[in-house]
């Protein structure tokens, strides 16, 4: 365990260094973008902005300053947003985790169930139906699915709010707050979850079909075990190992895939913050985001490793 956590440190440092260098290689600077959006300026104005942003310092000094601050828990100041990076990210972290976590849960639950059903009825109409739907969802661009759902459930049948995190008025108690957040969460989670559920369906089906023909399953059948027990304990458990690997690998893409859903549903998450930070060349914020999402991905993979040990007794963690 300890060794695994120690391994994370150089990974994160390299991540930070790479992001910082890449950003500084990109042409254009933050001061110019800000001046441009303000409808122009003069030389003194621009020089003021540059020195405020520390852009007039040599690049290694800028990085050293940043690295030192990160170690002391200070991710710097976003001049663009007039706020500490830690506060900015902190406010967005919970919505992102809520969205991606729920979407992941929905995707895994639906994907595994549908995949198991399809595998159990391989070649029959149930299999074709499930595989067909999965393929259709997989082929639909995420934003299109999101907008379609929004227009149907938010405008035509106004059952659900069309976007945002929580109703902006009429919230008096903690319960109302939670209820409102849950209502706002439905459409983004369904959109994001559906895409991954489609992938997991295909994946579960394939993995289970492979295991169905293995010897231990035939033995289980020969012993006269109930079909449901065979599916759950002998097939599903084995099939879930490669599935969990895929989920771990996709954790990063789930976080970045959230950008689209966050944009369509005005969800105040990290993805949108990152997108805006790139557009605005907000170095401090971007580096902070790279660090945060990098840490998240590394942590998720740590969880995946732990899950292996739970699911497969042959695996032990050192």
């Amino acid at each position: 365990m300890g060794a695994r956590i120690a391994q994370m440190v150089p990974t994160l440092f390299l991540l930070l260094l790479a992001a910082f260098t890449l950003l500084h290689l990109a042409p254009g600077d933050a001061a110019q973008v800000l001046a441009g959006e303000s409808g122009g300026g003069d030389t003194t104005y621009l020089a003021n902005l540059r020195s405020r942003f520390g852009l007039d310092q040599p690049i290694y000094v800028q990085f050293m300053l940043y690295a030192r601050n990160v170690l002391s828990g200070d991710l710097g100041f976003s001049f663009r947003n007039n706020m500490n990076v830690v506060d900015l990210i902190g406010a967005r972290l919970l919505p992102t985790l809520l969205l991606t976590g729920s979407a992941m849960a929905v995707a895994v639950a639906f994907g595994m169930t549908a995949g198991a059903l399809a595998a159990a009825h391989a070649g029959k109409w149930q299999d074709r139906l499930i595989s067909g739907i999965a393929l259709l969802i997989y082929a639909t661009p995420g934003f299109l699915l999101g907008i379609g759902l929004m227009i149907l459930f938010g405008v035509t049948l106004p059952w659900l709010p069309i976007g945002g995190f929580v109703a902006s008025q009429g919230i008096d108690s903690g319960f109302e707050y939670a209820l409102s957040v849950a209502k706002h969460l439905v459409l983004p989670v369904v959109t994001l979850g559906a895409l991954y559920a489609a992938i997991y369906t295909r994946f579960t089906r394939g993995a289970m079909l492979e295991i169905y023909v293995q010897d231990h399953v035939r033995t289980a059948r020969a012993k006269g075990l109930a079909a449901s027990r065979i599916i759950l304990r002998h097939v599903m458990r084995n099939a879930s190992l490669p599935l969990i690997t895929v989920i771990g690998l996709q954790a990063g893409s789930l976080l970045s895939g959230a950008i689209l859903v966050e944009t369509v549903f005005a969800w105040p998450g990290l993805g949108r913050l990152a997108f805006e930070a790139v557009q605005q060349r907000d170095y401090n914020l971007l580096a902070g985001l790279v660090l945060t999402t990098g840490t998240l991905v590394v942590l998720i993979n740590l969880c995946v490793d732990l899950l292996y040990a739970v699911l497969d007794p042959r695996v032990t963690l050192r």
């Binding site: 990109a26 042409p27 254009g28 600077d29 933050a30 110019q32 973008v33 800000l34 001046a35 441009g36 959006e37 303000s38 409808g39 122009g40 300026g41 003069d42 030389t43 003194t44 104005y45 621009l46 003021n48 405020r52 100041f77 001049f79 663009r80 947003n81 007039n82 706020m83 900015l88 406010a91 967005r92 919505p95 934003f143 907008i147 929004m150 227009i151 938010g154 405008v155 106004p158 709010p161 069309i162 976007g163 945002g164 995190f165 929580v166 902006s168 008025q169 944009t263 369509v264 549903f265 005005a266 105040p268 998450g269 949108r272 913050l273 805006e276 557009q279 060349r281």
Partner: protein, 538 residues
């Protein structure tokens, strides 16, 4: 099943309601138009989430939209650029034009209760506008000193008469900050930039990043009885279709600066619940422009620039690229800026490919055997895909007269660097804001002293003409407004003759609002209306 008592009650209630409705009808429009107090308006933070909430520090559209509810200016604009009092009740210009005196409104308080005085104006002028505002040093160049003989009087002492100053003292271009909260601080990182304290009809309540900004009624507002609304909530909705869905579902009631895509505009105009208004953008004066790099061939030759102007069919341009919404450009000063617009006498570039061909031949770019004359590039301002459409239209127009153009795509920082830092371009499709006064909006693209390295929206063309400089500098010190207007008319004619920048179209931006939202401002700057007169129909 039904209880007889209830049904009698119901009947009574119905009769009563019918009676009430009848009396409403009798009372007529005057009753229905009387403002109702209370209610919350949900508005769009557009074109994105602001980064601070005071336009004294940052002047982007999204900041100004919110800032204009919280801050007042010394003056504001009514219809047709009529200057109206706001924090100043009266102003006088001395006989020689070298002194501008303002009487301030008595009894005005900042949202924290501190009285607003002339010291706030003097402080903001010296420590904010002249230090960190992108345009103020040019606008207020004539100001020698600002004096405050008493708490309710501000005097601008000028080196020479300067007509640009009065109008520039509106709350958007020259936002006044509270001295007691900003003195001896770093203005740009002052914490009050994100929890502003102003004097306006609404005060800041909370800001949840990425989601909403909540403003509430200022109970102590100087215009007693106003505002009518309890709250204004700004919501951030990044996706254009989602924004339209938000209007359609009633989740949002107010959005400015073209809040929905043009493909949804028709739906909004036909809607029973929404209003679309094109007024209030006159001060902003948004234009789609083509800028030539006059430093190097081929566009260093005015004949080539004129040939291009003749080769682009502006009527077709606005029809094809903006669905007929914009108006073909005729001058760097837009026709909506009625006071300064020259109208007659402006050189016109009628769409005529034969004339363009002839000019190009004369300039020494004959058609080669393959039908082309020379190759060039088009860089478009990455303010959304509409600018790419403009660039594609220009490319086709170029092709018809033998100019082979390559369109280059890049993001905003790269565009700025290419045009304003490296000057490595031939032709750009870009945007220009007129900002109410040509001295603020137009000088910067045609004055040789506005050729400023690295500065976005400066004279990127590199156009420098002694004749033009003379006219501009005369306008800056014009003894009276009539003379200044006259000079700016000559400046337009010359700019249109030399065309370092070619105004392709006058942009028509619009506001979308719920029909229930009444009392929206109508003045020349009402895109940034303070909403103090706005009210919600019950």
């Amino acid at each position: 099943m039904s209880n007889p008592r209830t049904s009698i009650l119901k009947l009574r209630r119905r009769t009563f309601l019918a009676g009430a409705a009848a009396s409403l009808v009798l009372a007529g429009r005057s009753f229905a138009d009387a403002p109702v107090r209370g209610g919350t308006v949900v508005a769009l933070a557009h074109p994105g989430e602001p980064n601070v909430l005071t336009s004294a520090v940052v002047q982007t559209g999204q900041v100004q939209s919110v800032s204009s509810k919280i801050f007042d200016g010394l003056i504001t604009f009514g219809d047709n650029f009529e200057i109206k009092p706001e924090l100043a009740t009266k102003w006088t210009t001395s006989e020689d034009g070298k002194e501008l005196r303002f009487d301030l409104r008595p009894g005005v308080r900042w949202h924290d209760g501190t009285p607003f005085t002339s010291a706030d104006v003097k402080f903001t002028f010296e420590s904010v506008w002249m230090k960190i505002h992108p345009r103020a040093r040019a606008t207020f160049a004539a100001v020698d000193v600002v004096e405050t003989p008493d708490p309710l009087t501000v005097v601008f002492k000028l080196r020479n008469p300067s007509g640009v100053i009065l109008g520039a003292l509106n709350g958007l271009e020259s936002t006044i900050l509270p001295k007691h909260l900003y003195e001896n601080t770093d203005i740009q990182t002052n914490p009050y930039n994100i929890k502003p304290v102003g004097t306006g009809p609404f005060r800041f309540k909370e800001w949840v990043r990425g989601d909403r900004i909540v403003l509430e009624r200022n109970p102590d507002y100087w215009d007693a009885g106003k505002p009518y609304l309890d709250q204004v909530i700004y919501r951030v909705i990044p996706d254009a279709t989602a924004r339209y869905a938000a209007f359609e579902s009633g989740a949002v009631q107010y959005g400015t600066l073209t809040p929905i895509s043009l493909s949804d505009l028709g739906l909004a105009q036909k809607s029973d619940t929404l209003d679309v208004d094109f007024h209030g953008y006159e001060w902003l004066a948004s234009a789609i422009v083509a800028d030539f790099n006059v430093r190097r061939p081929p566009f260093n030759d005015v004949r080539v620039r004129r040939a291009v102007a003749h080769a682009i069919d502006l009527k077709a341009f606005v029809r094809v690229t903006t669905r007929g919404l914009a108006k073909p450009g005729t001058s760097p000063v837009l026709s909506t800026q009625t006071k300064f617009y020259a109208g007659e006498g402006l050189p016109e570039y009628t769409f005529d490919r034969a004339v363009a061909d002839q000019l190009l031949d004369e300039a020494g770019y004959p058609k080669k055997p393959d039908g082309t004359r020379f190759a060039t590039t088009i860089d478009w301002l990455p303010f959304g895909e509409t600018f790419q459409r403009f660039a594609e239209f220009a490319r086709q127009a170029f092709k018809a007269v033998g100019i082979e153009a390559t369109i280059r795509n890049q993001d905003l920082p790269q565009f700025f660097r290419r045009v304003y830092s490296e000057n490595d371009f031939d032709f750009t499709i870009s945007h220009r804001a007129g900002l109410g006064d040509p001295q603020i909006g137009i000088d910067r693209v045609i004055w040789s002293k506005a050729i400023l390295k690295d500065i976005p929206w400066s004279n990127g063309s590199g156009y420098s003409s002694p004749e033009m400089d003379k006219l501009i500098e005369a306008a800056h010190v014009a003894p009276n407004e009539d003379k200044r207007v006259e000079l700016y008319k000559q400046i337009q004619v010359l700019a249109q003759r030399d065309i370092p920048t070619f105004t392709l179209a006058e942009n028509k931006q619009f506001t979308v609002s719920s029909k229930k939202l009444r009392g929206l401002g109508t003045g020349s700057i009402s895109v940034y209306d303070s909403l103090k007169d706005a009210w919600l129909e019950a």
